[in-house]
Symmetry: C3
Subunit: 129 residues, 3 copies
């Protein structure tokens, strides 16, 4: 296996870390959040989920990959009750992004804060190419 890394940087923290690093067939993505290209955070949780997956897709595309390449997702949410009360809307937006039932493992935990106070979810993914 080729052990040389390739990576993609963008966004306000690009000096600090890459949005994704590929080594061999594995692709590790930085946690993605519901912010659009202008830095605006979506107001509600389903909207943040939709934007986060748009960002995940954009990062994957830099490596010629799609959401089909994801194997593992971790949802870090700031309010589990909010997630549970909007579960169908959240997973509907996610399935719209995937275009079909995702073949991916998932873990969901509630953390006490994310990078910005408005953020309700951060999605950390691993892909294989």
């Amino acid at each position: 296996m080729d052990s040389s890394k390739s990576s993609y940087r963008s966004g306000p923290y690009k000096e600090y870390f890459a949005q994704a690093v590929r080594v061999g067939n594995a692709l590790y993505l930085a946690g993605q959040v519901g912010v659009d290209a202008h830095g605006v955070v979506a107001a509600d949780l389903p909207g943040q989920v939709e934007l986060a997956y748009a960002n995940i897709r954009r990062v994957l595309a830099k490596f010629g990959a799609t959401l089909d390449n994801l194997v593992d997702e971790t949802f870090f949410v700031t309010d589990m009750q909010e997630l549970m009360s909007q579960l169908e809307a959240v997973y509907a937006r996610r399935q719209q992004a995937y275009g079909k039932p995702p073949e991916v493992a998932q873990t969901v935990v509630q953390v006490s804060a994310l990078l910005l106070p408005e953020l309700k979810i951060e999605i950390k993914c691993i892909a294989h190419l």
Copy 2:
């Protein structure tokens, strides 16, 4: 390396995500919790740990794997003090599941909530086959 995925689905969220996804030699498991086959959550932390490992073993078995195949564990606990006060009981149950001292990396953090209010721990694992 074969980059096609295989996966195993079960449980109430099987429409949303797989319990594990294999790609190449890597197997990513969804976080497992201390719930039995009837959906009953164990009352105390050591009991939840025992059930979570039973669930991990069940998922691994679908891929012909055992706990020996685990390489990385993350413990998401809801009360670090409770874990510390029951540390020996918790790790005794875990070692019973493994049958020997585990050869696995581990990270332990306290989150503010898991999927169900009664859950005290969720264990996220990566295995290699």
Copy 3:
């Protein structure tokens, strides 16, 4: 790919888990914290970051690896505001450890507690060799 594991154990929890497990080209590290060889926790966040990376480097060295081999980092912090208010100092210490801009993905979340009350950060890493 060789699926046999090799591992490195040290520290107070060495009976419970390895500091790192290698399988094939992948190396999974246990979360590392800002504690020195005498068990003393650094007083402030930049100091804990510096010590945590010293510990990560020490673990990597057991496998003939360096920080250049890291592909993914998760920062579990206990106070996001504290991180944000000391962001430059934290990332300066990190870059000193790396010796150059790191080529690594990163995810940062705030958890509600780590293994010891004094800990402000735990860094979980994956490396490829």
